[in-house]
Structures are given as C-alpha cells and as structure tokens.
Amino acid sequence: MNIFEELKYYFQFDFVKYAIVVGILISLCCAMLGVTLVLKRYSMIGDGLSHVAFGAMSVAMVLTIADMYVMLPVTIVVAILLIRLTNQGKVKNDSAIAMLSVGALAFGYLIVNIFSTSSNISGDVCTTLFGSTSILTLNNFDLWLCIILTIFVLGYFIFFHNKIFSVTFDEGFSKATGVKTAVYNNIMAMIIGVVIVLAMKLVGSLLISALIVFPALSAIRLFKSYKSVIIFASIISVINSIIGILVAILWGTPVGSTIVIINIIAYFICWCVEVIIRETRKA
C-alpha cells in the first residue's frame, strides 16, 4: 500500500480528522502565544506550567474525574500568580520556576503511583508526559472543549493584536499612556494556562515548550515586523503539526516527539535560509 492509499485509509476514521483539526487549532494558539512568551523572555514559565498541569492531571487521575476539570483551573490560577509575581519582581524567574516545575512533577508521579487504581500507570503517565497517542484518542468532551477554547484564544489574539503588541514591546509606555496593562497581563496569564493544558493533548507535558518556542524562533529569524512574525509562526506551526501527525500515523511513531523533531528541522531550515539571505545581501 503506498503512502497516499494508506493515508486515504486512515482518513476515513473520524478520530484522524478530529486529530488534524484540533492539532491545527492548538498549533495556531501555541504559535501566537509563543511569540509573546519568547519576546518577553517568559518561555520558562510555559515549561514550568506544563509540569504543574501534569501534577494537576495526576490529582484528577487519582480522583478518577475528567482531567480538564482539575487541570484548567489549577493551571490558570498558577499562571496568574506566576505572571503577577514575576511582573512585580518578587520572584526571580528561573529558580522559582525550577522549584515549581520539579515539585509538581515529583508530586504528580508520586501520588499516581501510591493512589491510582489504573491498571497501567506507566502507560498513562507516559502518554501524559510525551503525548504518544492522546491527540488520536480524544473523547467527545475533550474535542469540543478544545475547539471552543482555541477559537476564543485565537479570536482574542486577532482582535487585540495591536494592544498585545504594545504591552509586549513596552509595558511601561502602554501603562503610562492609558492602556490597562494589568487586565491584558491577567488575560494573557489565563490564556497561557489554557493553551498549556490543551497542548498537553497534542505533544504531552514535557514537550509543550517546543511547540511554543520553535515556531516563534523560526519566524523571528526570518521576519522583521511583528505582524509577519505572528503570521509566519502560525503557518509554520500548523505545517509542522500536520506533517508530524501524518508521519506518526504512517510510521507508528509517538505523535509528540515527531512533531517536536519536525519543528527542530523547520527551525534549522529557517536558520539556513536566513544565513543564505544574509550572505547574498552582502555580496
């Protein structure tokens, strides 16, 4: 069976179509959020929060309730606290996040091992951390929650594009000239929480940073205006995720790692293109 026939075979299944749709939406959100986080040097916050989300998910697993009910509120609250404390300078970015990160990870794994009634703990944990097939096994509730939340997040990024730019580029100026920066920072913190939780379904908790960081960095290498950086990051993120999901389907590789490797390859290609453009301009 050649590749196209195999893909045609798989596409008759609804779960594949849903995976592609949700994958596209989540990648778009991660890319747009990633540009802001990378430019504000908040990338580590994304990483720390993904570990907190894992800890929250472990609690949900132990209590056998739907994971979203615990992950979303916990991650959003921690995100708001972290952003607020960082903005006020009360928390030194890297060490506090490192403590939170490993603490949540250890706590999560410990309680899952002690209290969980699942028959296959390593399998559950592995899927949550690395996202091997979670995007392909979404249940109805997760599917619609993902779609609705991502549409809200995308709407926010598009509608408030200019204000987000101003607050990211120069928060002091924005606040002094009348922009309600506190509101925008709180909304951004909530969005970080939401996007991290959703992205866990696509690439797993340990690999979320890649989805946030790589498309933004690839775009920043090649483009000079904020708008084009956002657009290109979104496009490259979606392309990488689609290719990643298809490769994973065809060759049985774990979805999360495949998407991340493709992101790395794309970043490397963008880097080479940038060097080529620079050298030809010099000549």
């Binding site: 430019l39 504000k40 040097r41 509608f159 408030f160 594009h161 200019n162 204000k163 730019f165 101003s166 580029f169 120069d170 002091g172 100026f173 924005s174 606040k175 002094a176 000239t177 009348g178 922009v179 309600k180 775009a219 920043i220 483009f223 000079k224 205006s225 904020y226 708008k227 950086v229």
Partner: protein, 233 residues
C-alpha cells in the same frame, strides 16, 4: 498643568527622595537633574502613575486628559532585538486613547502617524525593522510614538543615553522646536543639561530632596550650576 505637593518617592523598603513640591505650567521645558540613584526616573514614573508616591499627591489640571501623555522611557535590552517595524511602533502610541472595542487603527490615525514620522524625519524607515536603525534614529522613532500619544505633554527619561554627541545635538534641537513651535510641555530627565540648557525654561535638582526648583537663569546663577557645567559666563 502638573502639581506636585509634598511628594515622597521610593519603595516600601526604601525612601529615595522626600519633600518634592513643584508645579509645571503649560509650555514649559523642565529638566530634572541629579546624581545617579537620586530618584529622577522614579519621580517620572510616579508622575506617570507607574509608581505610587509614598507620601503626598500629584495632580493634573482638570482639563487635561491623562491618556494624552507622551512618554519616552529608557530603552530596554529586549526592545533592541524586538522584531517590529517603525510604523508598528509609532502607531502603538494611539492605543492609550482607543476604546477597547476599536482594536484596529483608523485612517485618521494612520494619516497622523505619517505626518508625525515625516516631521521627525523617520518616514523613510516606516517599513524597516526597528533594530536595524541607529541609536539616534531609534530615539526619534520612540519620540514619534510619544507624539502620537500626545501633542500637549512629553515626558522623557534620559533620552540621550547611548547617543553620540552629534545625535544628541540634533535631538535637543528637535525637542526645542517641539517646545517652541508646537507648544508642547516638556518634562525631561537628563544627564547632559549643558547641551540642552539654552532652550530649557525650568530646572529641578534632586538630591535626597528637592534642592532646587526654579527658572533656568536662577539655576545657572546658583551654587549647583557648576556641578552640571552650566555656570553663567
């Protein structure tokens, strides 16, 4: 226009400067001077509402719209590498005055932006990346952004840091023109008072407290003038 009464600035753990009282009238060109760490930037930020004063009150004229302030802050490291075109940055000056449900720039705002950029001589860089410009050009871009935000009051924090002397001269010439021809009130923290002094109307000198607040001529005749190289001939 701005009235400052008995203000103490600083942080909860540390008072930097106390007993600051002064008033700024429309059309004045005021310079704040002092040693490093005496609280000049903090005073500016307190006037702008970015910091709360530990004591005292800062009041603006009733007819003055607080979102009509032009601010030129010190550049951060992050901004030097930020991917943004000059036009995107200058246009962002309008955002403070826009309602939240009008997120996109109107045609009038884009036209005004073009006018201001032409006036400041940065229109040719409109679609260039901010990080590719020289220090002097970047400061003019940020000044254009501040002017989009306000055509009445310009508050600047050490705008000539990192500029070479030729750019500094050009910059002060520009500020003087904005003050005299366009009637914009200027409040500026500066380290090179001697280069701006001939167009300045008032000076504030901070050192633990407000040691001097008065006209330029009075300052040049005072005992502090020689600290800044502006003694009367």
């Amino acid at each position: 226009m701005i009235e400052c009464k008995g203000v103490t600035i600083g942080y909860p753990e540390k008072t930097i400067c106390k007993n600051i009282s002064f008033s700024i009238k429309k059309g004045e060109y005021v310079c704040i001077v002092g040693e490093n760490g005496c609280g000049k930037s903090t005073l500016l930020k307190t006037v702008l509402g970015l910091h709360k004063p530990l004591k005292g009150k800062i009041a603006f004229e009733k007819s003055f719209n607080k979102s009509s302030i032009g601010y030129l802050p010190q550049q951060t490291e992050m901004q030097k590498d930020f991917p943004a075109t000059v036009k995107e940055i200058v246009l962002s000056g309008f955002l403070g005055k826009k309602k939240w449900y009008v997120p996109f720039y109107t045609r009038q705002e884009k036209a005004k932006c073009n006018t201001i950029m032409t006036e400041l001589g940065v229109a040719e860089f409109a679609n260039k990346s901010f990080k590719e410009l020289s220090g002097g050009q970047q400061q003019r871009v940020l000044l254009a952004r501040a002017l989009c935000s306000s055509d009445e009051l310009l508050i600047m924090d050490e705008p000539t840091n990192n500029l070479d002397s030729k750019s500094i001269k050009l910059f002060y010439k520009l500020i003087a023109k904005l003050n005299k021809e366009n009637g914009i009130t200027i409040l500026m923290v500066t380290h090179d008072l001697d280069k701006a002094i001939k167009d300045v109307t008032n000076v504030l000198y901070l050192k633990d407290e407000l040691k001097f607040a008065g006209t330029r001529d009075a300052f040049c005749a005072s005992e502090y003038a020689k600290l800044f190289g502006v003694e009367e001939e």
